[in-house]
């Protein structure tokens, strides 16, 4: 009796351990992909505002960048440039999306974690019921 009970507990524990391992594998794999996106282009070419090409939504006339140095601390409390227009043009295209590949595995990782928790709860419940039955002699 006691031996079979021990075997029951051991088998439940083994199952739970396997499920937890299954859950943590993808979770770690997801974690490795979390760092924010690495920009692809290399050359840093910050250049001042001199755009020859026309913008899409307006006429051809572009006002030359005005020379007025409008650094008025009262009006602009931030460290941002005070002049209008884009003062430093970034290079390359913005990388504003971490793809669903990692997104998908993240979702699965969460589900697997929840599943592992369910296995633990079920296993614990089984052990509890078995012990109760044995204790009551049913």
């Amino acid at each position: 009796m006691r031996r079979s009970m021990r075997r029951t507990v051991l088998s439940v524990l083994a199952l739970a351990g396997t499920a937890v391992l299954m859950g943590t594998g993808p979770a770690f794999a997801t974690g490795a992909t979390t760092p924010s996106p690495a920009p692809t282009s290399a050359a840093a070419t910050p250049q001042p505002q001199e755009s020859a090409a026309p913008a899409p939504s307006d006429g051809p006339a572009r006002p030359a960048p005005s020379a007025e140095p409008t650094r008025t601390p009262a009006e602009a409390p931030t460290q941002a440039p005070a002049g209008d227009q884009v003062s430093v043009r970034p290079s390359g295209a913005p990388d504003t999306g971490v793809t669903g590949a990692s997104s998908g595995s993240g979702t699965n990782g969460t589900a697997i974690g929840a599943g592992a928790a369910a296995v633990l709860a079920l296993g614990g419940g089984t052990v509890f019921v078995v012990r109760r039955r044995r204790a009551t002699g049913a």
């Binding site: 020859a52 090409a53 209008d84 669903g100 929840a114 296995v119």
Partner: protein
């Protein structure tokens, strides 16, 4: 195998089934390609300079705080961090919304395991849709969408996005198109022009 261990095994198997069925489908990446029909919005008086603190796009349910972004060490524009509470970011070397020039705001389309980004549905915007940027000084700059473009990252229209313009405009940028490995192939860019200014209404606070 005893009856008890059989019961335990059945319970474990059931739980494993639950685990296998729990994973939901990953969000689908989709960006519509809208040709850019530039619209001449009315001339508006530029606002005083004040940094944006909140961005609202009612048509796609966006209501997000706005952080400040600069340049990455390699010269590309910084993007907001990949976190669960994703937010938009204003490129601080561009004009503040409502000032003359192209004010640039960026946001993620997806944030990896956290799911949808704040600009998930940016490509659904249509010409005339309203965008509100609430500024630090309590005023709001209201814009109307003039064009939505989906362009390959390899052919990013830097002049159209960052080039000088003679009126207050707004650029919203995110990623879109097909996914290639860890990246999206395209950028979705929304062009908008100032349509109104004034104090932020209660709904815009």
């Amino acid at each position: 195998m005893t009856a008890f261990s059989r019961r335990a095994f059945t319970a474990g198997a059931l739980a494993s089934l639950l685990t296998a069925c729990g994973g939901g489908p990953a969000p689908e990446g989709h960006a519509s390609r809208t040709p850019p029909p530039p619209v001449a919005a009315g001339r508006r008086r530029p606002l005083a300079r004040s940094v944006p603190v909140r961005l609202l796009i009612p048509a796609i349910g966006v209501d997000t705080p706005v952080m400040r972004l600069g340049l990455a060490p390699d010269g590309t524009v910084e993007v907001p961090p990949v976190t669960a509470d994703d937010r938009a970011g204003w490129y601080r070397h561009s004009p503040t919304p409502g000032r003359t020039g192209p004010s640039v705001i960026l946001g993620h389309v997806t944030v990896g395991r956290y799911g949808d980004g704040v600009f998930r549905h940016l490509a659904r915007l249509r010409r005339g849709d309203r965008i509100v940027a609430r500024l630090e000084n309590g005023t709001a700059a209201r814009f109307a969408v003039t064009a939505v473009r989906t362009v390959p990252k390899t052919d990013f229209p830097a002049d159209d996005v960052y080039g000088n313009v003679d009126r207050p405009e707004l650029r919203l940028i995110t990623c879109g198109g097909a996914r290639t490995g860890d990246e999206y192939a395209d950028n979705v860019i929304v062009f908008a022009a100032l349509s109104g200014t004034g104090p932020a209404t209660p709904g815009e606070r």
